[in-house]
Symmetry: D2
Subunit: 297 residues, 4 copies
């Protein structure tokens, strides 16, 4: 089986790396805090991203933000410095389209393929190989990654170039956040009118609104179950900012994204850093005169 460098063993990267080992790939891993490597039995730790990538056919990166990706990919000891000509870097992180464009260009200049492959799904979906993957890049490169993708997810939605795929991920997260806003407003009004939130939600998901995103986030909002975080508020804010930035670059105003951004900022101003990103619904509740989280606490 081909060799894969896996860069970034956070809550998403860790189960993904394990799945690659389990699928039989020869995996080398790197993480900022090196001890994490022990959590991927069967993989060999590497001291730098470049060392992990040295000689590998694929590198997969899954990191927290633009700064981390830029350092790990383009830094002096970064992935690109280690990969040989003809290898492929699969960027699974959620990044700005501006950085994605720079990554694609830098890799092309060195004869290395770059495939953006952002994923939809939370850590439990990653562990269960149930991610949805949205690859973007040269079709031949995307094709060559088939076995890697098969080891990680349940479905592929190729979506054009690398920056286009990156944008699709930002749009997806913007839409999840918008769904939380929609649910937050509806459920606050329903609750103040004396309706049972779960019963109201059941009607929605039993009729027109029966989507996984509404079931999952609807339950969190109806239960005000904002802790522990599956995906932190500050990360959600980062992604909404990236969507707004993409909109600015392409001259597309996104007032719904601005509304969500303000909700998130308000939640953070109240010190709710530990809340899940659905927790900005607490702000919607307070504006309506409800407790931010339904008691007793």
């Amino acid at each position: 089986m081909p060799s894969v460098a896996f860069i970034g063993l956070g809550s998403m990267g860790l189960p993904m790396a394990r799945n690659l080992v389990q699928a039989g790939f020869d995996v080398r891993v790197w993480n900022r805090t090196a001890a994490k490597a022990r959590d991927v039995p069967g993989a060999r730790p590497a001291p730098t991203p470049a060392a992990a990538a040295d000689g590998a056919e694929f590198a997969v990166s899954m990191l927290a933000d633009d700064a981390a990706v830029e350092a790990a990919a383009l830094g002096p000891d970064g992935i690109l410095a280690g990969l040989r000509k003809g290898a492929i870097h699969v960027g699974a992180s959620t990044v700005s389209i501006a950085l994605c464009r720079r990554l694609a260009d830098a890799h092309a200049a060195r004869g290395v393929g770059y495939v953006a492959a952002p994923v939809f799904g939370r850590p439990d979906a990653a562990a269960a190989k149930q991610l949805w993957i949205v690859p973007g890049g040269a079709p031949a490169d995307v094709e060559r990654c088939s076995a890697v993708f098969a080891a990680l997810g349940q479905g592929l939605f190729p979506m054009g170039s690398a920056p286009q795929a990156s944008l699709v991920k930002l749009l997806g997260n913007f839409m999840i956040a918008s769904t939380i806003e929609m649910l937050g407003e509806s459920l606050a009004l329903a609750e103040k009118a004396g309706l049972d939130p779960s019963r109201f939600l059941g009607m929605l998901t039993g009729t027109l609104f029966g989507a996984p995103v509404i079931k999952r986030y609807g339950q969190l909002v109806a239960d005000t179950a904002f802790e522990p975080a599956g995906f932190q508020l500050a990360l959600g804010l980062k992604d909404v900012n990236l969507a707004l930035g993409a909109g600015e670059e392409l001259r597309v105003p996104l007032p719904l994204a601005s509304l969500v951004r303000e909700r998130m900022l308000t939640a953070l101003a109240q010190g709710r850093e530990r809340f899940d990103w659905s927790g900005f619904a607490s702000v919607i509740r307070e504006a309506a005169g409800l407790e931010p989280v339904r008691g007793p606490r």
Copy 2:
């Protein structure tokens, strides 16, 4: 079979009345323009709502707005003037919670039952007995309407009192409108980034966003297929205003509803009265520098 007065033979009421005839009810119909009664074979026309309701066990009303409902229900020749004690009025129209409350009180004062029973579904769903019905009222009254509901819809979601059920309908329409806004912003940005709108939509509905409302309205927005209208913009605006009014009464700010309201007003200011309510996505497109409707037509 029991006798039913059916009041209002518009695009929704007409197929509903037919289904009641087909289910074996003894149906008398009234419509503002009387000739419409001929479109319900097997039903007898009545000169006034009161005459239609005279002696009936049930009256079902399906009218366009608060003013029409108030006149047909509470006017001198209205439903309530015709129904005998112990009969039940099933109000299927989308109305303000204030009017719903007045209807419930007025009927109670005369010993007539009032069940609010707003429906989700477009005319094609009404014709196919595929409506979802959200009844609200005294449980015994709701129970007595079972056969009526069975003749009209595919599912029942009892939701408390009559005003509560009315509110649920307003919330549902607010959520559909919010979904159109979310799709409109996302698809505008996707299109300006060179993505294929239908392909992007397919990814959404194939993953987290696979709900009927997103499939139906997503396709309309992706295709900019805003004419002919399934549900007119001005009616959508009316319903969003009713949701905002309910929010005001209960002190629940709904900024997402305000955003949608402004989009609709903008579309109407451009003279798009004939557009479907999803057509306010044309305004989102224009703000992004895209044509309101993708040409050539």
Copy 3:
């Protein structure tokens, strides 16, 4: 001096009626709670608006909302029932343009003049004859009111028809509310950055922003001096709703008015009915993590 009926002795109407007495007019007054008439020495109380208006050359009405104006002007014992042909009704209340239009039509049909004359200024300005008056109506009618206006205000801004003058009042109040929003956001950010609010405000009013509205409301917001109310939040909300309604009728979206409306609703949802309308800045403060009102109190 001509005779004047004065209808409505609230916080604005009372000093206005006194000024008319002082200017030498023969004044008859009516108020919902009759005892208030004693607070206008030199005026004669009347048992109904019609009785007050009977035989008078002018009637001036200053009431709280559309419902009060409609009853006092068009009711069976209302102003219009009492005024003789050729008399003039000066409507100083802030009302919807729809009601203003109906008032103008109803008066015209009876041969009575109707001049809308909304005013800018708080009770202290009313007492000091410092109101700004915005009359609208037939130019000859407006001209005939000169002595009345001279007794009440410091300046006249004739502004077309009666509904146009009514709209100008709604726009003025919308702009004051917008100014409060602008000040609220700016001062919240300034305060969190450690700037002294009063000093910052002094810079603004000492340079580009030196308007009475910014000095007065800026100080209230900077000091979080929201009680006692000069003009109550709920009345402010009513006026912003009237502006939104005028925008809806004329197809003009007003997102800034919607933003302000949501702030006001949020403040009311927190139980701040007694706050001045500038008190919705407390909501802006809370969203930023500041105390709603700066303590200790």
Copy 4:
């Protein structure tokens, strides 16, 4: 007279540099396109910012954005590389508070004073020495700049630290943009109601809203006089983004700034790069069904 290095001869910097020459300072100038130096008779051109600053007591920089300031101040041939210990750099540009903080720190580390001194006023005010200056920095440093400020402006509003002064400038521009939004919405509704925009504006500025900012921008909006630009839309957008960024850092949501940002983006999406920043009122007009700029053109 002391020597001053002046860095940046744009539409604002050029008249400011001339005024320093006229006040008797020994001025050396640097501009990206060197030929501009000829437009400041009596000043000596320098090949780099460092060369201009070499030996000077003061350096004044007036540049377009963060990138230009960072390069000219902190680059290898930048101002800080040229100034001697004890000299003072007066930063008059509008920059992010993050950059301002870095500038203050970098200068302090080298024993050079840094005074942020953003200004309010357009080029004509700069030429007429009518700028308002908002200095921030160590009080002794601000004091030492008195003669420089006296040569440039009509009034001083010291406002704490350098980043605090920078923030005040961002807030001021946010408030101007908010004023344009408020005027744009009001004038659109007034115009659709048949009111004369200038007459309506005259009422506003003759009563509660008599501030220079409302007179100037109100006239531009009332006349739809958006070209030529006094301050370009794209620069306005940059500043509103900086205000939003400051709000994000300090956790202060600014929905009014977001609204204005979306208006500006919409105007740019229509290709209105050459419009004055007040020109986003064209978008408000279009949303109301009015022509973006009143014809005939």
